[in-house]
C-alpha cells in the first residue's frame, strides 16, 4: 500500500488519538500527547507493526494521542493509511 495523499482518522476525544498520514519518500513517525513521553517506544513498535501488515514502507505518520490503548492506535493508523492510499 502506498500513501498518495494526506489523510486523517480518529479524533481528539479522550481515549482516542488522531492520526494523520502524508506522502513522503522515507518513513517518519511523530507522536505528541501525554502518553508519548512514557510509551513512545511501544507506540512506535505498534505503529510499525500495522504499517508492516499493510505493506507501507514510506510516509509521514503523525499521531496526536489522548490516551488511546494499543487497539485504538493501531486502528486509527490503519484507517488513516487506507484513506490516504485509496
Amino acid at each position: 500500500m502506498k500513501i498518495i495523499r494526506d489523510a486523517t482518522a480518529g479524533s481528539g476525544e479522550k481515549s482516542d488519538c488522531s492520526v494523520t498520514v502524508r506522502p513522503s519518500d522515507g518513513l517518519e513517525i511523530e507522536i505528541t500527547g501525554s502518553s508519548a513521553a512514557f510509551f513512545r517506544e511501544s507506540m512506535v513498535a505498534e505503529i510499525k507493526s500495522v504499517l508492516r501488515e499493510l505493506a507501507v514502507d514510506a510516509g509521514t505518520i503523525e499521531v496526536a494521542d489522548r490516551g488511546a490503548l494499543p487497539f485504538c492506535l493501531k486502528a486509527r493508523v490503519e484507517a488513516a493509511v487506507r484513506r490516504g492510499s485509496e
Partner: protein
C-alpha cells in the same frame, strides 16, 4: 434451540474507543458493537477498522459479542462482514423484512466461517423495525441461524406513521407479534431500547411489562440500564422454589422410572419443565445460590 441468556444487550458505538474498551466490564449478557445507527456515514470505514481491532484485543468478559452490521442493501454491508472473526458470536441484522434477506446473510456467513476456519456457528439476531418485518416475523424467525427476533421501536414507529408515546400502546401489536412468532419458532424475543437513560422507573416498568409478555431480554443504550434490566429478569424466591420443586419431581419420576411427572397431584408437562429450567438459570445468572435459599 439457542438458549443462551440474553437478558440485556448493550449497544456500544463502533467508533468510540473509550466505550468499546470498557465493553466487558458492564456484565451485559451481550454487547453489540454497532456499525450502523451509532456511526455517521463519514466514519463507517474507521469504525469498522476500530471494531476489527477491538475484536482482536479488547476483553469483553463473559458477554456474548455481537456486531450490528449495516443493512445488506447499503454499500457498507460487504466490508462489515469482512471483519467477522472467531471472536464474533453473532450478527445483529437491521431492518429484516423477509426470510430471503436472512438466507443471503446466512450464506455469507457459511462462506466466511469456511474461509477463516471459524469453529463455531455464528448466530443471527434479526431486528424487526418495519411493518413488513412484523408481517413476516414467523418466516424470519425460522430462517437459518436466527437465534432471536429483536424489536427496533424507533424505526418501526416511523414506518407505520405512529406517534411514540411514553405508555407505548402503539407498539403492543408489534411486540405481541414478535413474541408469538419467536416462540412459535422456538427462539428468543428481545425488546427494544428504553430511550430515556435518566428514567430508571420508566425503564423498570417497561421491562416488567415486556417480561410478562414473554420477552427474554431488553436492549440497553447505557451501561446504567443493565442493573435494572437484570433485576427485572431475576425470578422471585417463590418462582425459584416452585421451579426447584418441579425439577425435584422430575428427578423422582426418573428414579421411579415413571413416565408421568406429577407435583402436588398435578401432572407436569414439558412447557412447565422448560420454564422451571429457565427460572433456575435466570436465578443462577443473578448470582442466587439455588441450593441455599432462605427459609420460607
Amino acid at each position: 434451540m439457542e438458549d443462551r441468556l440474553r437478558r440485556s444487550r448493550l449497544f456500544l458505538p463502533g467508533n468510540n474507543p473509550k466505550i468499546l474498551q470498557d465493553g466487558g466490564v458492564f456484565e451485559a449478557d451481550s454487547v453489540i458493537l454497532d456499525l450502523e445507527d451509532a456511526v455517521s456515514i463519514n466514519s463507517k470505514d474507521e469504525a469498522r477498522i476500530l471494531v476489527k481491532w477491538a475484536l482482536r484485543e479488547v476483553d469483553f468478559g463473559d458477554s456474548e459479542v455481537l456486531i450490528r452490521v449495516n443493512h445488506p442493501e447499503t454499500p457498507f454491508f460487504e466490508a462489515d462482514m469482512e471483519i467477522v472473526s472467531q471472536e464474533v458470536d453473532g450478527i445483529v441484522l437491521p431492518k429484516v423484512e423477509s426470510a430471503a434477506q436472512v438466507e443471503e446473510v446466512a450464506a455469507v456467513l457459511d462462506k466466511v466461517e469456511a474461509e477463516k476456519g471459524i469453529e463455531k456457528r455464528i448466530i443471527i439476531i434479526a431486528t424487526m423495525e418495519s411493518a413488513l418485518g412484523i408481517m413476516n416475523a414467523y418466516d424470519i424467525a425460522r430462517a437459518p441461524r436466527v437465534a432471536a427476533l429483536a424489536f427496533g421501536a424507533e424505526d418501526f414507529t416511523k414506518d407505520i406513521g405512529a406517534e411514540r408515546t411514553p405508555e407505548g400502546k402503539e407498539l403492543w401489536y408489534a411486540r405481541s407479534a414478535i413474541v408469538t412468532a419467536a416462540k412459535a419458532a422456538g427462539i428468543q424475543a428481545l425488546d427494544t431500547v428504553y430511550p430515556n437513560v435518566h428514567d430508571d422507573e420508566g425503564l423498570r416498568a417497561e421491562t416488567e411489562a415486556v417480561r410478562r409478555m414473554g420477552f427474554d431480554g431488553k436492549s440497553a443504550i447505557h451501561p446504567n440500564q443493565i442493573g435494572v434490566i437484570h433485576d427485572v429478569f431475576t425470578p422471585s424466591l417463590e418462582e425459584i422454589r416452585k421451579s426447584l420443586a418441579v425439577m425435584e419431581a422430575i428427578k423422582e419420576a426418573e428414579e421411579k422410572n415413571s413416565g408421568v411427572i406429577a407435583l402436588n397431584g398435578r401432572m407436569i408437562d414439558r412447557p412447565v419443565v422448560e420454564r422451571a429450567k429457565r427460572v433456575i438459570r435466570l436465578a443462577e445468572a443473578a448470582g442466587i445460590d439455588t441450593s441455599a435459599l432462605p427459609e420460607e
